[in-house]
């Protein structure tokens, strides 16, 4: 291990005895391993120490004449070595309850001690509806700037939250208090899933873990140590109900810290986790350095004037791909595993807090309830909350909906009814008749015209039953028809509505004997082209725009590498303001941004402008824009930049072995502050070392205790082809110690801990 003929050792008169280099292979494992190129990674288990170090304390502060004031705190998680942090949007964005002009990040230096404020961050992107945000560390507290890519921090990667199953063990890590306690671990199991409109059946993971409210924004991990959920609680409200809070400083500089000072909200418990898949786009976009530009064409919708309200609650057991209820039920049999509460909403504003409280036989049930969360559905429309994946126990279920703590609607349903052969309608879909009287173009977005057909399934119908269908336009009844049933007992039926169907939001309700049996919404927009609605046309991509128009010479089908922005222009027709539309940007098939919002431009126009921006240059890739309404994809266009494919390893995490350890005095056992530990690149042995930096993989100087940490990860080899590293420990007045042949394979556990005892020379 230590060759006496090495020039290096000659220089220092003696070669350190290799035996005094004590190498301890720690039992610690870097938690996630996406993007590894070689062999499958060995199974790993959750390692709390690494995750705790990757958990950060998020503090919102604002400056006053008396100094900085902490307004709100929460938890966050480092999701990249260069300082990207995933947390709740409400922990990062200023609000009435949490005024802030700066976000400070505290980190855990010692695992058993509270966090230490260390960095400042900037908000890279956020989703208020999902209550998720990605931050990037950009400086030290003293104002020094940190250049992107210069940090090497412990981090975790996002796991696949869709693989989380009922009763899986979940470990939640975060800071439970206002910065005066160490990072904390709490465990529980997955107790269910909550569905929510626009997100789907797994909008929330429910857990039995007891999670303090301030751990909101932290991380929930599966047994492999993968981040699968983000504990999320409603943000504090300035005028909200009974916010528990702590006064920690004299924010108004009156000489006393009392109720007149800023109070840091605390309290509450978290039972819902946002699945990590919902954060994936935000994190990936931040990793690639891509931002979504402002929507410069659509105007900002005025705030609604009326009081926010929920109405027309009803239940369904099935939801179709357009997010519409397939049926309407008043009671469900025992053993049913899915139940959704639909309701209309009006005068809502994104960012409001809404809540569902469910009681089963008059006993509150947290599993079926939705704790207070942020509203993101826009002003008006149809919404749902549901529970899936667990059999509902028998009983009388009372559902109560709240907005900002105020009850606005309620509904009741019985679970445990015996099988009943009630007459009913279901599975309503809309379309147009072709020349052969076949219903074509069936979906929930139809072109402007004078006739619409609706097809539905019926069952257990009896001749003579009274049924009716009522059509609505923008909430106003358009027309209705009542008739005795004259068809078979079961089958499908098509009905026609003849009217001038102008662009806008429509609804059909089907009743049997006065009871709602089925309902669905649809949108009229665009003109008909072969039974299909065409709204958006003439898509053009450009790399530059001026005055809201593409710069002509930059309009292309493909773009060269190194463009800084990508603009897409399109024309539109016959779309009513207020129609909810979704635009989805993806890069190489990976969805980075998805925005659903009301149409805020005129019904017709040209050159609607959307864009993607980069802090530097857009990476080579295929960029696609998808536009949909009511989950119906209407247009999808794509363009290549550079090679049209992301560079290999664009999302690969820094994978490798972390090397840490301690350099001590062999006689006293004391650490040697400032001692240098060098790891050479694998192609160099100690005898090759000429003291040039390009031979060095990483250098670390020992701290007060003699501890060091190499700031780069050591690349792994494989069992067949291990990588061998050489290291050197050196300090003035001591005999240096060197060794070759530290073997790193794909099963070497990280970190490697090396203790070195140096003797005086």
């Amino acid at each position: 291990m230590c060759d006496q003929h090495y020039p290096l050792t000659r220089r220092f008169l003696a070669c350190g005895i290799a035996a005094s280099l004590l190498i301890t292979l720690g039992a610690v494992v870097v938690p996630l391993r996406y993007g590894q190129a070689q062999s499958d990674p060995p199974p790993v288990e959750l390692n709390e120490d690494i995750i705790k170090r990757a958990t950060v304390f998020v503090m919102q502060t604002y400056e006053t004449e008396g100094g900085p004031v902490i307004s709100c705190v929460g938890s966050g998680t480092l999701v990249s070595a260069n300082g990207l942090i995933l947390t709740n949007a409400h922990s990062a964005l200023p609000s009435d309850a949490c005024p802030s002009d700066r976000i400070t990040i505290g980190i855990t230096v010692r695992l058993d001690e509270p966090p230490i404020p260390t960095y400042t961050v900037e908000v890279i992107d956020y989703s208020q509806g999902l209550d998720l945000a990605v931050l990037r560390i950009n400086g030290y507290l003293d104002g020094r700037i940190i250049e992107p890519g210069t940090l090497q921090l412990p981090f975790v990667e996002l796991g696949d939250s869709s693989t989380v199953e009922l009763d899986n063990t979940i470990t939640v890590i975060g800071y439970p208090n206002i910065g005066n306690e160490a990072v904390t671990v709490t465990r529980g199991t997955v107790s269910g899933f909550t569905a929510e409109a626009r997100v789907g059946d797994r909008a929330w993971i429910r857990t039995s873990a007891t999670i303090p409210g301030l751990m909101s924004g932290g991380g929930a991990y599966n047994r492999d140590g993968e981040l699968v959920g983000i504990p999320t609680i409603a943000p504090a409200r300035a005028s909200g109900e009974a916010v528990d809070c702590r006064v920690i400083q004299d924010s108004n500089a009156d000489g006393r810290a009392d109720r007149n000072d800023t109070c840091v909200p605390v309290g509450g418990f978290i039972s819902a986790l946002r699945p990590s898949r919902l954060a994936r786009g935000l994190v990936r976009a931040a990793t690639l350095g891509i931002r979504q530009g402002q929507d410069l064409t659509g105007s900002t919708a005025p705030l609604p004037g009326g009081s926010p309200d929920f109405s027309r609650p009803f239940f369904t057991t099935r939801i179709n791909e357009a997010g519409m209820p397939s049926n309407v039920v008043g009671g469900i049999p025992a053993g049913t595993t899915s139940l959704y509460l639909f309701f209309d909403y009006d005068n809502m504003v994104d960012g409001m807090i809404y809540e569902l409280r469910v009681a089963v036989d008059n006993v509150p049930d947290a599993l079926y309830s939705l704790p207070p969360v942020t509203w993101s559905g826009g002003e008006r429309g149809l919404w749902y909350i549901g529970t899936t994946g667990t059999p509902l126990r028998n009983g009388m279920y009372d559902f109560r909906l709240f907005i900002e703590g105020r009850e606005t609607a309620s509904a009741r349903i019985t679970v445990g009814q015996g099988p009943r052969a009630n007459p009913g309608f279901s599975d309503v879909v809309f379309g147009l008749l072709d020349e052969n009287n076949n219903l074509v173009g069936t979906n929930y977005v139809l072109p402007e015209g004078s006739g619409i057909q609706a097809r539905f399934v019926y069952h257990n119908m009896q001749p003579g039953l009274t049924w009716s269908h009522i059509w609505y336009f923008e909430g106003e009844e358009l027309f209705r028809a009542n008739a005795p049933w004259d068809g078979d007992e079961q089958g499908t039926r098509t009905i026609t509505a003849a009217a001038d169907f102008l662009p806008g939001q429509y609804r059909l309700e089907l009743y049997i004997d006065g009871g709602l049996s089925a309902t669905a919404d649809f949108v009229i927009a665009g003109g008909a082209e072969i039974s299909r609605s065409v709204i958006f046309t003439d898509f053009r991509f450009a790399s530059e725009a001026a005055g809201g128009l593409p710069v002509a010479e930059t309009v292309r089908a493909d773009f060269p590498a190194d463009i800084a922005a990508l603009y897409v222009f399109f024309n539109w027709r016959l779309i009513a303001p207020g129609t909810m539309w979704t635009r989805r940007w993806s890069v190489d098939g990976d969805v980075l941004f998805e925005i659903t919002e009301p149409w805020n431009a005129p019904p017709e126009g040209e050159n609607y402008l959307l864009n993607l921006e980069s802090l530097d240059t857009l990476p080579d890739a295929t960029y696609a824009l998808e536009i949909s309404i009511s989950n119906v994809i209407l247009e999808m266009v794509s363009v290549k930049v550079g090679l049209g494919q992301l560079p290999v390893g664009a999302f690969a995490s820094a994978e490798g072995i972390q090397m840490t350890g301690r350099i001590t005095d062999a006689e006293t056992g004391q650490g040697i502050p400032g001692a240098m530990f060098i790891v050479l690149k694998s192609e160099y042995a100690i005898e090759d070392f000429l003291w040039t930096k390009d031979q060095v993989l990483g250098v670390s100087l020992a701290d007060n205790e003699g501890r060091f940490q190499i700031p780069v990860l050591l690349p792994r080899g494989t069992l067949d082809e291990p990588i061998l590293y050489s290291v050197l420990a050196n300090a003035e007045g001591y005999i240096p110690i060197t060794t070759d042949g530290i073997i790193i394979t794909d099963i070497t556990e990280s970190p490697i801990e090396i203790d070195v005892a140096l003797s005086h020379n």
């Binding site: 170090r53 960095y119 940090l151 003291w691 930096k693 020992a702 050196n730």
Partner: protein, 200 residues
């Protein structure tokens, strides 16, 4: 009794005397050689040359040399020094035709103020190098702290000196940094670098 004790005051023989002289001389020579060897070992230098930058200079032997960075032409650090690794560095900065050396120092100040903690300029003086080249020397200080937040290191007060020389559209910045207690002791290394610096 006296028969049992030889006369210790008797005179040394010629051989004995010269043996003693020789031993003393040898000890002196060995001591001198040891000191010389130590001194030459400590002050041993190697020639560094960068054709592209047009620089040749002597830097201490067995220091850690980095010449592959975009930020500087060469950086040499003493790997043994505690607690701060003594640093010698030569870097270039592209400047406009109207730039004066003081403008270069202004740029460096602004840059460093956002990068170095408690950065403070102590003095600026004009001087002439050995070959008659006009230059400006800036003396400054800052605190160096460990970037890794998980290591518990005390900040080190570092003193630094920059000598700026203008050369066509380039400014040459020669830098020395050392922990404040050792700054004066090792300043000669910087002066050696300046003395041996050749710009071509």
């Amino acid at each position: 009794m006296s028969d049992f004790f030889p006369d210790i005051h008797r005179e040394l023989t010629f051989t004995q005397r010269w043996n003693s002289y020789l031993a003393l001389v040898m000890a002196g020579v060995v001591l001198f050689l040891g000191i010389s060897m130590r001194s030459s070992s400590l002050n041993a230098a190697q020639v560094f040359e960068n054709q592209e930058a047009g620089i040749r200079a002597q830097v201490p032997l067995n220091w850690l040399i980095d010449s592959k960075s975009d930020e500087y032409v060469i950086r040499a650090e003493d790997p043994n020094a505690l607690p701060f690794k003594t640093l010698l560095q030569v870097s270039t900065l592209t400047v406009g035709p109207d730039a004066a050396p003081r403008n270069v120092l202004d740029i460096l100040d602004i840059q460093r103020a956002s990068q170095l903690s408690a950065y403070r300029v102590i003095s600026r003086t004009e001087e002439t190098l050995r070959d008659g080249t006009p230059a400006i020397r800036m003396h400054y200080a800052y605190t160096q702290d460990e970037r890794n937040p998980f290591l518990e290191s005390l900040p080190v007060v570092v003193e630094g000196v920059d000598v700026v020389i203008l050369r066509r559209s380039q400014a040459l910045v020669i830098t020395y940094r050392e922990e404040q207690n050792s700054f004066d002791d090792n300043l000669y290394r910087f002066e050696n670098l300046l003395q041996t610096l050749e710009i071509f």
